[in-house]
């Protein structure tokens, strides 16, 4: 039900770089799982409102007031690479793109 082309497309959406072997394996396994979840069609949900959260609250807001946040040093503490209080990453494209 989900072929290897679709698997590659989904992997791209999810920023995953799968091996050929993984693409084959996931194609089969994901198809099996999707077959299983089709049983939901047996239930009539025509008039039913979807549930996102099971708690009886909505729109939990706080006052729009500036409060202490995490110190910059801590924010950058785990950065693989940093410079000038920023996270440093490779450039978006290489020269040929």
């Amino acid at each position: 039900m989900i072929n290897t082309d679709e698997v590659k497309y989904i992997a791209d959406l999810a920023s995953l770089k799968l091996s050929e072997e993984e693409v084959e394996k996931f194609s089969k396994q994901l198809s099996d799982i999707l077959d299983y979840v089709e049983k939901l069609d047996e239930l009539d949900t025509e008039e039913i409102v979807p549930t996102a959260y099971t708690i009886p609250v909505k729109n939990v807001l706080r006052e729009d007031k500036v409060e202490e946040s995490l110190e910059l040093e801590k924010v950058l503490q785990n950065a693989p690479e940093k410079r000038d209080n920023q996270f440093r990453v490779p450039k978006i494209m290489d020269e040929d793109n």
Binding site: A14, L16, L40, I48, P56, V89
Partner: protein
């Protein structure tokens, strides 16, 4: 009796009665970890900085937890201490803040003695998906402890910690508790703050305690339940002192047995043990009746759509930019993303991200995700209606006892282990797993009690009563 065999409640009393020194307690648990963890492998990390020799009970005498040791699942953030989620992605990650539950434990005078092993990113039912090593069930040769809080359950069962915190998204506290012969509670969604819990599925995740008896569960719930302004899904409400409900009394409690759950084909010994426990409830004065519910397999199907969809979103943050693993030798940013994620995530995690991405993608969202959310309403409504008449709904916690490491290789087969636990997370209700017997191989069996939203005290009272009625007097598993 060795100190490590005693419950948190017992140790607390012994300290108050000045019958023991705090450092002797910590020595005992530390010694126990040293003796058995090379075999059990419950811990990813132990607190080697803890200066046990200089621990003084006087420094903790006014605190709720009196300086006693607590183990914490490794997806719960501990400031400056590795929090790995048992994943290569976070292998060297040290959070810059404490989870709210950690803060509460520290303020209550608890001492965190280690971080426990788990299925990577909490995705699994056996702890075999840990990127480091599988944890071994203390009760059997080469058996899984369950998952994803397998390390926490095994640590408590093996006497390496009196209590532990775990997390539960589809059964990850209750199922390992059942497999390891300990008590595990998943609180109502919204009862315990998720701030600092590494997110898997945000509408399903909850943190909860594992312990060897219900007394200790009540103690820990007193510490961790409560509002948190850092978690907008954590509900602002007052909770009773859960230890007030440690009474052996189920007279007049109305218990529902769901036909559709018991009609499923599952292990005979589990069935016998659970039916016996239900019989004991009846003898003790509870009213037991059969009820009808939407089949559990629908909840399982809805779960595998909702949980993976939410996971695909929550795990998008692991891109090598700000923390965690970053792939080296990459040509550009996009490569950094894909290489990092390929190297950092294990197979089960990738599989779930793929499924989640698919069910949310354009053209499929309505058929899958929206449909699953509607089914979620049906399941929640089922329970809401039942709880208007019944105090508790009861089922086995798991369809089998602990399976062998390496036994379940097919994803769907593994997912089926969650059939009884998943509806609880879908509905957001609280549930507790209590040991109710052993099978012929000596492996523990657990019974699951489900209750109405925010009525954990009913679960605690019923579980405590069952514990006293069954009087299993569980001996420590022999660990050669």
């Amino acid at each position: 009796m060795e100190l490590y065999k005693r419950s948190l409640t017992d140790l607390k009393n012994m300290l108050d009665e000045k019958r023991v020194k705090l450092k002797d307690i910590h020595d005992s648990f530390s010694y126990r970890i040293g003796s058995v963890d090379s075999k059990v492998k419950a811990f990813v990390n132990t607190n080697k900085d803890l200066d046990i020799e200089n621990l003084n009970e006087n420094n903790y005498k006014d605190t709720y937890l009196r300086g006693l040791p607590i183990a914490i699942k490794d997806n719960i953030s501990t400031d400056g201490i590795n929090t790995t989620c048992s994943s290569k992605m976070l292998e060297d990650y040290k959070p810059p803040y404490d989870a709210t539950v950690v803060k509460k434990i520290n303020e209550a005078g608890g001492i965190i003695t280690g971080k426990t092993n788990m299925d990577e990113y909490a995705m699994g039912s056996s702890t075999e998906n840990s990127a480091f090593y599988p944890t071994v069930n203390p009760w059997g040769e080469n058996r899984v402890p369950g998952g994803s809080s397998g390390g926490s359950a095994a640590a408590v069962a093996a006497g390496m910690a009196p209590v532990a915190l775990g997390s539960d998204t589809g059964g990850s506290i209750r199922q390992p508790a059942s497999f390891c012969g300990v008590v595990g509670l998943k609180p109502t969604y919204g009862a315990v703050s998720r701030y600092g819990l590494v997110a898997f599925a945000s509408s399903l995740d909850q943190i909860g305690p594992l312990a060897r008896n219900v007394d200790d569960i009540a103690l820990m719930m007193n510490v961790i339940a409560g509002n948190d302004e850092n978690d907008s899904t954590c509900v602002d409400r007052e909770y009773p002192d859960f230890t007030d409900y440690l009474k052996n009394d189920v007279r007049g409690m109305k218990i529902g047995i769901p036909n559709q759950y018991f009609e499923i084909d599952f292990d005979e010994e589990v069935r016998e043990s659970v039916m016996n426990a239900i019989e004991q409830f009846k003898k003790a004065g509870a009213e037991v009746e059969r009820v009808d519910v939407t089949g559990a397999e629908y909840a399982l199907a809805a779960y595998y759509i909702i949980a993976t969809a939410e996971a695909s979103s929550n795990l998008a943050r692991y891109d090598g930019v700000r923390y965690g693993l970053r792939a080296e030798n990459v040509q550009n940013l996009k490569d950094m993303f894909t290489e990092t994620r390929q190297q950092g995530f294990g197979e089960e995690v990738k599989r779930r991200i793929m499924l989640g991405t698919y069910v949310l993608s354009a053209g499929y969202y309505d058929d899958f995700y929206l449909k699953a959310q509607k089914v979620r309403t049906l399941i929640k409504n089922d329970f809401d209606e039942l709880f208007e008449e019944y105090d508790l709904i009861v089922s086995p916690t798991t369809p089998t006892t602990a399976f062998k490491i390496g036994e379940k290789m097919d994803p769907l087969e593994m997912y089926a282990a969650d059939i009884f636990t998943v509806p609880v997370n879908i509905a957001g209700i609280p549930a507790i797993s209590v040991p109710c017997g052993f099978d012929q191989k000596g492996l523990p069996i657990g019974i699951q009690l489900m209750g109405p939203h925010f009525k954990e005290e009913k679960l605690i009272q019923a579980a405590y009563s069952l514990e006293k009625i069954l009087d299993l007097d569980i001996e420590y598993p022999a660990l050669k």
